[in-house]
Subunit: 357 residues, 2 copies
């Protein structure tokens, strides 16, 4: 770092309009050495009150602010982190990213946003760029909480937090919503309201979240002494159309029909509620319905408004920020942490008011 | 900048695991001066092939990469920009931010993401932080393309681009979708399909976009020789529920009913289509419907799929990135630029297939 060139630009009116003032500019205007100017601005070292006042006056006149980049070279830390999305930033990642950015900003850390959209070579170049910026850490996220390959930066000690994304690496820290627990909340709630046959309409089984939610559905049914019929668990697409189709199948066949539906997403639940209404069945009278995601665009537009499981993505993002700060401070963290979901009760489950939650 | 401390850390195994290697580490391992190491790595200056090979070998062994922060101090540019959202990052800002990040990354520029969520003091602190990081420019965005107060950073010459956001300042560059043009596309399309009475159901009038879309509706009706009845323009909320309510009013009264609806958002259009179906009217047979936003969650779930105006937010984000790069390169840009929308034709307007667009 000693081969930095001297900054020989003369201080002039230019300084105020064309570039930020440097410590050297302040020292020149105050007529003191750079060392003295530095001491005055950092309020350390011995200086006369007069010199200090001259420096502070010059700094004010030049609108000087400390160069964070230069400070980063002095310090071991750059006070920046990278946020890498391996997928488009989507509806699920934004609440996470927002809460994370907020938490880090409150600790003086700025966040570089990098979107690799499932392109491994782009991801590598992003990581190179971030390492060049000397980031203190990395957060890796994805559109859906699914497994991915670990990020292997050349700087092996770089703290990394995976959030809404996980890797097969016992040394990695992965923060995820507790999908199984969320499903249990929903199904236990329906069972507690006296529903006896609770079907599950969900997304594609290649999603880990789908498998975990199904597991929670089975566990909660078993705890309530209810049976999980194989034909009552319908896996399909993440769409309203799938919700409608599944309802037509579940309710169009003989042999009795479910009195409750736990759906793997709010979109599926919305389609299911529409189909039930169009079949002449009332929600929640004939069939109670609970969704997953607590996405207000869907929950508010469903008739009646949809009870849903909230993954608390804001809390997840805040937790990821806190964990990264801890790791940057030198405390390694590892393992898979699943944060609790909560149930937001509206009219579609038949328990009006939050008291029933 | 000459007061940087010498980096006296000895090169050791530590270097490979606990911190990034510096140019000094490389020089020591290669047994050459820092100047020679720098020449070898930058492939300039005169050096023997042997020295160059030794330096490159040492750099590889230490996993050395150039310190971008140090380079930023050499250069006039930090190769970073700030992205400031004055509102939550929402559904409209994602595609803008993604395209912007992509464009800037392709030019080697990294993006700091800052979310001020309508808190002016937070916004000020974000700007201070960004100036401390010596960002080369700033992009300001918002959830809806509405007017805001200009950002006034202390460094007056900092390039700023407002995107999906605008300010009353003729020196500022503001990039927005052409809402009026988009509305004209939709209404002219409906008129071209032979619809004679095209009503408009839209959002709250305090949104600039609502006023511009209404203006486009009037202009296109006038161009088509159709009249714009005051009672056929219904302003309300950005929701499906409002779409349903407005349809009940428009179609529940005497004196004939519209044969087409141009809606100010896809959510409104979706509610309108549901209400029409529930009133026994067919879409597009009895009533053709066009939405605005081309939001696939809504367009795909509407029955039939919804024709909609696309604001081309990705193109807007890319354009914002390109403009910022131009401004950073020293070419000031100003004024309000409105980028064209396009019409995405699906079944709800009665013209099947893109040929009719």
């Amino acid at each position: 770092m000693t081969d930095l060139p001297p900054d020989d630009a003369p201080p002039s009116e230019d300084v105020r309009t064309s570039r930020a003032a440097t410590l050297r500019d302040v020292a020149r205007l105050a007529g003191v050495s750079i060392g003295a100017a530095s001491k005055a601005l950092n309020a350390n070292g011995r200086l006369s009150a007069e010199t200090r006042a001259k420096v502070l006056g010059a700094a004010k006149a030049l609108d000087y602010r400390p160069n964070n980049l230069a400070q980063s070279l002095h310090r071991a830390r750059s006070m920046t982190v990278g946020m890498l999305s391996t997928d488009s930033f989507g509806r699920f990642t934004f609440p996470i990213v927002e809460a994370l950015e907020r938490r880090l900003f409150d600790h003086g850390i700025a966040v570089f946003m990098c979107n690799a959209t499932d392109d491994p070579s782009r991801e590598r170049r992003h990581i190179e760029q971030l390492l060049g910026k000397r980031v203190d850490g990395l957060v890796v996220t994805a559109r859906r909480a699914d497994k991915r390959a670990p990020v292997v930066p050349a700087v092996r000690s770089l703290p990394i937090v995976y959030v809404f994304s996980y890797v097969d690496d016992s040394d990695a820290l992965c923060l995820l919503p507790d999908d199984e627990g969320g499903a249990k909340l929903a199904v236990s709630h329906l069972a507690g309201l006296g529903r006896k046959r609770i079907a599950h309409i969900t997304g594609p089984r290649h999603f880990e979240a789908v498998r975990l939610r199904e597991k929670g559905w089975r566990a909660a049914l078993s705890e309530a002494g209810l049976s999980a019929r194989q034909a009552d668990c319908r896996s399909g697409r993440w769409s309203e159309a799938w919700g409608r189709e599944a309802v037509e199948t579940l309710f169009g066949r003989g042999g009795g029909a479910p009195d409750a539906l736990f759906c793997g997403s709010d979109q599926i639940a919305r389609g299911a509620v529409d189909a039930l209404r169009e079949m002449g069945l009332s929600v929640p009278g004939d069939v109670a319905v609970v969704g997953f995601d607590n996405w207000n665009v869907m929950t508010d537009a469903t008739r009646p408004p949809l009870t849903s499981v909230d993954m608390n993505l804001g809390a997840l993002g805040g937790e990821a920020g806190a964990a990264l700060i801890e790791m940057i401070a030198g405390h390694p963290l590892a393992g898979v942490r699943r944060l609790p979901c909560s149930l937001v009760v509206r009219a579609s489950c038949g328990a009006r008011g939050p008291a029933a939650a």
